[in-house]
């Protein structure tokens, strides 16, 4: 099932299908290791529901929900 990263629940796991957006943001997402095929784990949402903390390739990064919205993922059960 495909959905955007911003729609993922805490504690769920997914694989990146597509990194959208443009320019600096897209480049930065890719450079931080969020590529197609990368496995991600949603560690938690901040207390105010934004930003979101992910575990990617063994390190933790946080994205704003609006940034996470550009990333399409497929859930891993």
């Amino acid at each position: 099932m495909e959905l955007t990263l911003s729609g993922m629940r805490e504690g769920s796991r997914a694989r990146i299908v597509h990194v959208g957006s443009t320019g600096a943001l897209r480049r930065r997402l890719l450079e931080m290791g969020l590529q197609k095929g990368t496995e991600i784990y949603v560690e938690k949402y901040a207390p105010l529901k934004d930003p979101v903390e992910l575990i990617v390739k063994g390190y933790h990064i946080s994205l704003r929900v609006e940034e996470a919205h550009h990333i399409t993922v497929e859930l891993i059960e």
């Binding site: 320019g23 600096a24 943001l25 897209r26 480049r27 930065r28 997402l29 890719l30 450079e31 931080m32 290791g33 590529q35 197609k36 560690e43 938690k44 901040a46 207390p47 105010l48 529901k49 934004d50 930003p51 903390e53 390739k57 063994g58 390190y59 933790h60 990064i61 946080s62 994205l63 704003r64 940034e67």
Partner: protein, 729 residues
């Protein structure tokens, strides 16, 4: 080794943020650091010179970056240094626990024509997390020397330097192969463009053809400009070819070439990682994650954050007030002893009322600054700063700011000087300037005495509410201005928030101390000069002209009164003598206060105050208020004492000034208007100097002054005139 053969070797340290680069830099250079800015930008530049292995070694700490694309100012600075300053060696500090991500910067460095050493830092930590790296293999695969270090235990530093120096001295050319190989179609495009560049290149063009070709395919703005600049004739052809090839690749792969190349680099890296990295334990115990279960917890996250911030505020401004008071009394002591030692002269006045009073009023902030930066360094070095940004980003984003802006803005309630210096923690230059522009609206503690006097005089029981509203107005103005700037002057794409939450680390005391001392030194050195000059100017304006025509013969009156009382005292009985002496004292102080008021009124400062009175009239402030506000430029606290002088208040007590204010024709409305103006108008001299230093721009400094004063006048105008319209006068 003789001095003749001694050659200076430049070693640049590159690496991701949180890779332990700063720790390595501190270990290498110790206290021999020079902190400044990179030319033209506000990115901090750290440099240290040491001797070793028969050379003078200049160690340059490049900004921490994840990549070398020209998207952020830090990346441009780091890349330009490597490209244009050609350091003898670039040392890439790699966090061994994050090999895959770190290698992205590493392979980019490898693509540039420079000598690189890889440093696998914190490998002990990685090993404990079950990560093992085959350094030998890594070294072979990329053909670079690889060394291990443990930054926080100072291990491997000698070896690092030795390897770097050996590489710098080696004559072997930089090996061009063992770099990223792209897929056939892309290599084909690179080859074609490379050939075109080689055909048109000149000696003036400093970059390697293959690298330039790759950058042009990635549509790198900076390199495009360099090509246009340096290769006038051939540049059109080269750029046309690049454009054509870009389009071809885009059509073929249905994506932009820069994305394709990034993907392929990571593909290349994945291959390396597979060969050199072995992960043993799967379910490791992650202390950081456990800490974050509490510190960024949905329920406890904010209360703990508020507690930490409260503690920082208390330490900075409450505990810091003790050493502050010591310095104050030290300055007072110095002033008093000089007063006794020197005979009356213009020089003495300049020294005491100008220099010591002015510089003294700023130097007292040193303890606050040291303590605040100790706390900030603690937050940064432990990794908590990123969590604070994580928690606060939602709120700060409403103003168009990054979560990290919260700390400078909050500190603004204490003192704008350290607050603005704290904006250095922000990575994006736009965020930093925006934060600097709105931080002065956070009402600093120096403004509080003014509110207390005015609100206390005119609002009595409601004073607390009024002062609270003033603080609130400041916050609202900051939010409104922030949004305004974000959509006008500092528009443009928000820097991506994408931020690493590094693992928690135990901070090193030495690193905290170095950080703290850097700030303190910067404050003392850079402030000293400007504050000194500023104080002298302000003092001169209020001390000259000397030959005032007094409306009364003060000296004569003082003389005759003294004479009169002395005669009376001599004649009177002991009981009466005391009474008379007290009377004499009182009459003299009235006269002296009146004289002082007249001196202030007729000084250049007073003339300016009267001159600009028409500007202040619409907001209900008379010439006395105008002068007081102008002297407030030195330090806001001075507004109160200037009012005291101008109203010829003979005693230093607050009640006396309140009484004088009430009788001066000042109304509730004009008091409110003045408070609003004090809240918003131009920051004090120390703050302006800090703004200049931190924005590194006269333009922004001037803008900040003009904007805040303009807004202050407008807001006060609305309050005063609106109040008059409503019949509140």
């Amino acid at each position: 080794m003789s001095a003749v053969t001694e050659k200076s070797i430049t070693i640049a340290l590159a690496g991701n943020p949180n890779s332990g680069k700063t720790t390595v830099f501190n270990n290498l250079t110790g206290t021999r650091q020079k902190v400044g800015n990179w030319p033209g930008v506000t990115v901090e530049k750290k440099e240290g010179t040491i001797r070793g292995f028969g050379h003078e070694l200049v160690i340059v700490d490049l900004p921490g970056t994840y990549s070398l694309t020209p998207y952020s100012i830090e990346e441009i600075v780091a890349r330009d240094f490597v490209l244009n300053e050609s350091p003898d060696v670039v040392v890439d500090i790699i966090d061994a626990s994050n090999l895959e991500r770190s290698l992205y910067l590493a392979v980019q460095l490898r693509e540039i024509n420079c000598k690189v050493v890889f440093v696998l830092n914190m490998a002990d930590l990685a090993r404990r997390r079950g990560i093992k790296i085959d350094a030998q293999k890594l070294s072979e695969l990329l053909d670079v020397p690889v060394v291990f270090t443990v930054g926080n235990k100072k291990e491997g530093m000698e070896n690092l330097l030795k390897t770097a120096v050996e590489l710098a001295e080696s004559e072997t050319p930089i090996v061009v192969n063992r770099r990223v190989r792209y897929s056939a179609d892309i290599e084909d495009a690179i080859g074609k463009l490379q050939a075109e560049i080689q055909e048109h290149t000149t000696a003036a063009f400093p970059y390697h053809a293959r690298w330039t070709a790759i950058k042009l395919l990635e549509n790198d703005e900076v390199i495009r400009e360099r090509v246009l600049e340096k290769l006038e004739n051939g540049s059109r052809r080269i750029l046309d070819t690049a454009e054509r090839l870009r389009k071809q690749l885009t059509d073929q792969f249905n994506d932009e070439p820069e994305i394709l190349l990034t993907d392929e680099r990571f593909g290349f890296i994945a291959g390396i990682v597979k060969e050199v990295l072995t992960t043993t334990t799967q379910q490791r115990v992650d202390i950081s994650r456990n800490i974050d279960l509490v510190l960024t917890n949905r329920f406890f996250g904010f209360p703990i954050f508020i507690l930490f911030i409260w503690a920082m505020f208390q330490l900075t401004f409450t505990v810091g007030d003790y050493p502050k008071a010591w310095i104050e009394s030290g300055v007072g002591l110095l002033s008093a002893s000089l007063n006794a030692a020197l005979s009356d002269s213009l020089f003495k006045e300049l020294l005491l009322d100008g220099i010591i009073a002015g510089v003294g009023s700023v130097v007292v902030f040193l303890p606050n600054i040291l303590l605040l930066f100790f706390c900030i360094a603690l937050f940064e070095d432990t990794g908590y700063m990123a969590r604070a940004a994580f928690l606060m980003d939602r709120v700060m984003h409403l103003i168009g700011l990054h979560g990290k802006s919260f700390i400078p803005m909050l500190m603004g309630f204490g003192c704008s000087v350290p607050a603005i210096m704290a904006s250095r923690t922000l990575e994006s230059e736009k965020d930093r300037i925006l934060t600097i522009l709105i931080t002065p609206f956070m009402s600093c503690s120096a403004r509080l005495p003014i509110y207390i006097v005015l609100a206390g005089t005119f609002f009595a029981a409601k004073a607390g509410t009024v002062i609270f509203s003033i603080y609130l107005l400041g916050i609202v103005m900051a939010v409104v201005s922030g949004r305004l700037f974000r959509s006008t002057l500092l528009r443009g794409q928000d820097a991506p928030f994408v931020m690493e939450l590094p693992p928690y680390r135990i901070p090193m005391l030495k690193s905290l101390m170095i950080h703290m001392w850097d700030r303190g030194k910067m404050f003392l050195k850079k402030m000293g000069g400007v504050i000194l000059v500023g104080s002298i100017v302000v003092w001169s304006l209020s001390a000259f002209p000397r030959n005032i025509e007094y409306s009364r013969d003060y000296d004569g009156q003082i003389h005759s009164i003294s004479d009169y009382f002395e005669r009376e005292i001599v004649a009177a009985d002991p009981q009466r003598q005391k009474e008379l002496a007290a009377n004499l004292e009182a009459e003299l102080s009235v006269l002296l206060a009146a004289k002082k008021a007249e001196i202030a009124e007729k000084s250049y400062m007073g003339r300016i105050g009267k001159g600009i009175e028409p500007v202040f009239a619409p907001i209900g402030i008379d010439w006395r208020g105008s002068i007081a506000l102008m002297t407030g430029f030195v330090a806001k606290e001075i507004v109160v004492s200037t009012l005291g002088i101008l109203y010829a208040v003979e005693s230093r007590s607050a009640e006396a000034l309140q009484h004088a204010l009430k009788n001066s024709g000042m109304t509730v409305l004009s008091a409110l208007s003045m408070m609003v103006f004090v809240l918003l108008y131009l920051p004090c001299l120390a703050t302006v100097t800090t703004i200049r230093k931190e924005t590194n721009s006269f333009k922004w400094t001037a803008f900040s002054i003009a904007y805040s004063t303009g807004i202050a006048w407008l807001a006060a105008f609305f309050v005063y005139q609106g109040g008059l319209l409503l019949g509140l006068g």
